[in-house]
């Protein structure tokens, strides 16, 4: 198996999930027609190159009692959005902080963060604390999720 094909196969497998067995890399290697060491090296390379942000088990927060999931969207002036985005990312209860485009006139929010908590009250209190402590005096809205229709890993290739 050539190198790029091996990397592609490993990348795909890591999006879909490896089996939870004694030698998971061997299981994947057998499937790809590669050696166990080649698979391990390929994952290490994807990590070193920064393609992989995190390697391990992805959990379903809802199943763990983190039932309140709020997407908080902010309208922050363009020259301040990087700073505010990084500040939000430093907060322990914030799992994601992304900048996205505005779509005026329907959508004027350019900064998105996700807060998970065990209840709406907890999430609301966490948000209020962040806003007052960091002085985030920007228009924002909290979009709680009321139902999850689908949650699985992204598969791109």
């Amino acid at each position: 198996m050539t190198d790029p094909l091996l990397l592609l196969g490993v990348q795909r497998a890591l999006q879909e999930g490896l089996p939870i067995v004694q030698r998971p890399y061997l299981a994947l290697a057998d499937q790809l027609g590669a050696s166990e060491q080649q698979v391990i090296d390929a994952i290490a390379r994807l990590q070193d190159s920064g393609n992989i942000k995190r390697f391990g088990m992805v959990l379903k927060h809802r199943e763990l009692g983190y039932r309140a999931n709020a997407m908080v969207v902010w309208d922050v002036p363009n020259d301040r959005v990087d700073r505010v985005g990084n500040e939000l990312g430093e907060e322990p209860c914030v799992t994601l902080s992304y900048r996205r485009p505005r779509r005026p006139p329907y959508w004027n929010y350019n900064l998105f963060c996700m807060i998970h908590g065990t209840s709406r009250e907890e999430v609301t209190a966490q948000l209020e604390d962040i806003v007052s402590r960091r002085g985030l005096d920007y228009p924002h809205q909290v979009l709680f999720s009321s139902k999850c229709f689908k949650q699985r890993g992204a598969v791109y290739v």
Binding site: Q22, K60, M71, T95, P101, W107, F144, F149, V155
Partner: protein, 149 residues
């Protein structure tokens, strides 16, 4: 909600990031926790079967592999269920949530490249006929690094 023991929490904290790249990675984790390799494997397989574990794999840096976006539809409440099912059936949709807003159906959709993604979005817009937002990530300040338990 699943009841987790303190040992479960320790185990789940161990396995969420920096997973060992060894021939027998679960033996390495077991050693950290003072458990046997078999006990670790059995408990994780059980948690997987109970739906606590979504997958054993990787979270990729966005847009280094393929293309993805966050999209939202403004759906009349009485049509939300059928619309969610329609969206779920489109290849590449991996998260789909009902949220409390005029734009109420929010989903993450991926494709091999931006062209394929644009095609899928156009398909959804045509099939549903509802106004849609396409909000691709421009900058990541912080990405899910696992869930402390």
């Amino acid at each position: 909600m699943k009841a987790l023991s303190p040992l479960d929490c320790a185990l789940l904290n161990q396995v969420q990031k920096g997973f060992p790249l060894e021939e027998r990675p679960f033996a390495v984790i077991a050693q950290h926790l003072g458990m046997s390799e078999n006990a670790v494997l059995e408990r994780l397989q059980q948690l997987d079967a109970e739906g606590v574990i979504s997958r054993f794999g990787a979270v990729f840096e966005p847009n280094t592999v393929g293309a993805s976006t966050l999209a939202a539809l403004a759906v009349p409440p009485e049509h939300i269920r059928e619309t969610a099912e329609l969206v779920n059936a489109v290849p590449g949709v991996n998260h789909n949530y009902l949220r409390e807003h005029e734009f109420n159906l929010w989903f993450v959709i991926t494709g091999r490249n931006r062209e394929e993604l644009t095609g899928s979005l156009a398909d959804i817009e045509r099939k549903t006929g509802y106004p849609m937002l396409d909000l691709p990530m421009e900058q990541a300040y912080h990405i899910d690094l696992g869930f402390p338990l």
